[in-house]
């Protein structure tokens, strides 16, 4: 546990900083309807670093940062300038153009610079897990200064309708946003920065009106999602960035479910939700039944999931012989996998420990592993074949049962199909 805390608290503090500044910018971005502007600005910053690299500067040196900043300011100028066009062309289209042209130009430049060109990928692929206190000391003053500028000039920087915004203040907005995005993407990567920007802000805007309340909700949701994502990635041994993005997505989904309850009759909303869930279950059952009847040997996600969770379910439709063959093939497949792993382990150990293996022994090991793999594939084939045959045999019966279950689950359908029950209950002659 102490390991987890030692490892996770610096990225959590970095995440708090990112949530703080990006939720604010996210609300602005949602109001201005320029959702993908951070991707375009990050790509432009990468293009700047590429240009610096081409001119002989180290990729992570101050010159590269200044080039990135210069290119970002140029993009901010373009974005501020083209905002007045957005009455005729959506600004998202221009943002897309900036993104693809910057990405393509970076590829063309990289192609001319083979030495160390792969370094440039790192600009867009940060990893929040390996961020530390030194990163905090760089971003905290920067983000605080930018936050202060926005607070002092709030009346000028608040989103205005297209065509009515001051060109200069639009430039200030995009320039400061570009600086924030450039720094954040290098720390956390494009996917996670986009999540920090849009999802907490979207939850805030969904659940409250005005500016301050959505910002508060966004900060709260962002903090919770970051903590949950980091904890889940430790507990379930998952890559941190991807887990946090999914955590943010789950928060937004929960807010989406909660939203109708706030604006309507909670009872009718709950009944509506149950009805929707029942229809979803009906759709899954009907599709599974039809797939089983038409193609019994195909993949069946529902049946496979049930069998994976409760393997003894197979005994309900396997014959005794089939069960025996299946269990035996499973045991052999596992045995071959273990033997291949043991051989690999032996070869790996011999590289630095004990007597080294000569080439002939290594070739034999390699050959044995290939054979074990082939035999394991054979056993897997046997398992699939046994299961396929069993499913082929019961497809009509099981498919029919699933259809009946779907009828039972579907709201009001059974009642319409069996009207006499209702008439008897109602006492009509």
């Amino acid at each position: 546990m102490s390991d987890a805390l030692t490892l996770l608290w610096p990225p959590f503090l970095v995440a708090l900083c990112l949530v703080g500044i990006h939720t604010y910018f996210g609300i602005q971005v949602l109001a201005r309807k320029v959702i993908f502007v951070d991707l375009a600005l990050a790509q432009i910053a990468a293009l700047g670093a590429t240009a610096a690299f081409m001119l002989g500067h180290p990729v992570q040196g101050p010159a590269a940062y200044l080039y990135s900043l210069g290119f970002t300011l140029l993009a901010a100028f373009l974005l501020a300038f083209t905002r007045s066009w957005s009455t005729r062309i959506p600004q998202e289209a221009l943002i897309g153009v900036i993104y693809v042209v910057a990405a393509a130009a970076a590829i063309l430049l990289i192609d001319r610079a083979p030495q160390g060109a792969e370094h440039l990928k790192q600009i867009l692929t940060g990893n929040i897990l390996t961020s530390g206190t030194s990163d905090l000391s760089a971003i905290v003053p920067l983000y605080a200064a930018i936050g202060l500028v926005h607070w002092l000039a709030w009346s000028r920087l608040a989103p205005a309708p297209a065509g009515h915004a001051s060109w200069l203040w639009e430039f200030v907005f995009y320039a400061t946003f570009g600086v924030v995005v450039t720094s954040s993407v290098a720390l956390a990567g494009v996917l996670l920065v986009f999540s920090f920007l849009i999802m907490p802000a979207a939850v805030g805007v969904l659940l409250a009106d005005g500016f301050v309340r959505p910002l508060g909700i966004g900060w709260l949701v962002g903090t919770l999602a970051s903590a949950a994502g980091l904890a889940a990635s430790y507990a379930f041994d998952l890559p941190t960035g991807a887990t946090m993005v999914c955590g943010f997505g789950a928060m937004l989904a929960l807010a989406g479910v909660a939203h109708p309850f706030r604006h309507g009759d909670a009872g009718s909303m709950a009944r509506g939700a149950v009805r929707a869930a029942r229809w979803a279950l009906v759709a899954v059952l009907v599709l599974s039944a039809v797939l089983l009847m038409v193609a019994p040997r195909a993949d069946h996600p529902v049946l496979d999931a049930v069998e994976h969770a409760v393997p003894s379910v197979r005994q309900l439709y396997f014959t005794a012989g089939e069960t025996e063959t299946y269990v035996e093939a499973d045991a052999y497949a596992e045995r071959y996998r273990r033997q291949a792993d043991e051989l690999n382990e032996r070869e790996t150990r011999s590289r630095a420990e004990g007597q080294p293996l000569d080439d002939m022994v290594v070739r034999r090991i390699s050959s044995f592993i290939k054979s074990y793999s082939e035999m394991r594939r054979g056993e897997e084939f046997v398992k699939r074949e046994v299961r396929g045959r069993a499913r082929e045999r019961i497809r009509w019966v099981l498919g029919g049962i699933m259809l009946l279950a779907a009828l039972a689950v579907a709201p009001r359908v059974l009642g319409k199909l069996v009207p006499f029950r209702r008439s008897r209950v109602g006492g009509n002659p």
Binding site: Q122, R376, R377
Partner: protein, 332 residues
């Protein structure tokens, strides 16, 4: 009448004019000779047998065998990930006059098959370069492959390739097999120079053998000492020089390590006193630096291919550069 006029003209033409004409003729003759020479020169150049390789390592080894009778060019620039290389239109032009191609194999340069197929469609005589053709060399033939996972087992750990770890050129002993594969095809395509190629190969292997003993002696102090690498590229190097890579930062290529894995890696590195974290120039700097900072280890930059570091200019200097880098790391 005309002749008379011409005769008169000839007679009346000043002497200087004849001199000018004679000089012009001489200049024309000189130009024609120069043109003929220029035409002859490319012919002399095309006499060198053109070999296209996918990587810089194979280019260096092909040059070691082919000497000055072979013109070898590589498609993947140094320090780019050859597994993710995207072929360019100029690569088809580079293949136009090739009589032989050399590839890494073991699923490392799969994109090469597609390029060869497209080139053969444009120029049918290049069909000999395709897989199975007389001009196609898969340098991995007869290599004792490490980290064999086999099809169906999947990349549970280690390298992603079902066919085995493809970084076999990083064992200098494997150069014997690789150059043998190159020699076989060169001798078949150009039998007149077969003995020349064979002599080149033997001379190269003798040089390599001397250097290998030197490298083994220098790296003896690192034998068995635990190290960590970013990606599983060093299996062959480890086996030859008895280096002990106890773990990897990114066991599954493209999937960043989870916090639990990183925590366990830090714990293991502290327990086993790992002082060296190895990465290649194109691999992410941050993750290796993070681990080094947490454990007090040093990050050592090794060249996985010829040209990946400025000092690794050919196959032999690739190992010189790597041995120097490993020995330069602080011991304690």
């Amino acid at each position: 009448m005309a002749d008379q006029v011409n005769g008169k003209r000839r007679q009346t033409a000043p002497r200087g004019l004849f001199r000018v004409r004679r000089q012009a003729r001489l200049r024309c003759a000189a130009l024609a000779a120069a043109w003929l020479f220029a035409c002859a020169c490319p012919t002399a150049a095309t006499e060198r047998l053109r070999v296209v390789t996918t990587t810089t390592d194979l280019k260096s080894l092909t040059e070691a065998v082919g000497g000055d009778r072979v013109e070898a060019i590589n498609l993947v620039p140094p320090n780019l990930d050859a597994e993710e290389y995207q072929a360019k239109p100029q690569d088809a032009v580079r293949l136009k006059d090739a009589r032989m191609v050399v590839r890494v194999g073991l699923d490392f340069d799969l994109w090469f098959d597609r390029l060869l197929t497209q080139t053969a469609l444009m120029q049918p005589n290049l069909g000999t370069l395709r897989r199975g053709g007389p001009g196609h060399v898969d340098a991995s033939q007869a290599i004792a492959v490490l980290d064999q996972r086999g099809i169906g087992v999947g990349p549970s750990d280690g390298h992603a390739h079902g066919s085995g770890n493809p970084h076999y050129w990083l064992d200098p002993r494997n150069a014997e097999i690789i150059t043998g594969n190159i020699l076989d095809t060169l001798a078949r395509i150009d039998p007149a120079n077969a003995s020349y190629y064979e002599a080149n190969r033997l001379a190269f292997l003798a040089r390599l053998d001397t250097r290998l003993k030197e490298w083994e002696g220098r790296l003896a102090s690192l034998q068995g000492r635990p190290m960590v690498a970013y990606h599983n590229s060093w299996a062959y190097l480890a086996r030859r020089f008895r280096l002990n890579f106890i773990d990897l930062i990114e066991p599954k290529p493209g999937v960043p390590p989870s916090p639990a894995r990183l925590a366990s890696l830090i714990r293991t590195m502290r327990e086993r006193d790992v002082r060296i974290v190895v990465r290649q120039p194109h691999e992410p700097e941050r993750d290796a630096a993070f681990l080094a900072e947490k454990t007090g280890a040093a990050v050592v930059l090794l060249a996985g291919s010829v040209g990946a570091l400025p000092a690794a200019t050919d196959y032999l200097s690739l190992f010189d550069a790597n041995v120097d880098a490993l020995l330069a790391a602080p011991k304690r």
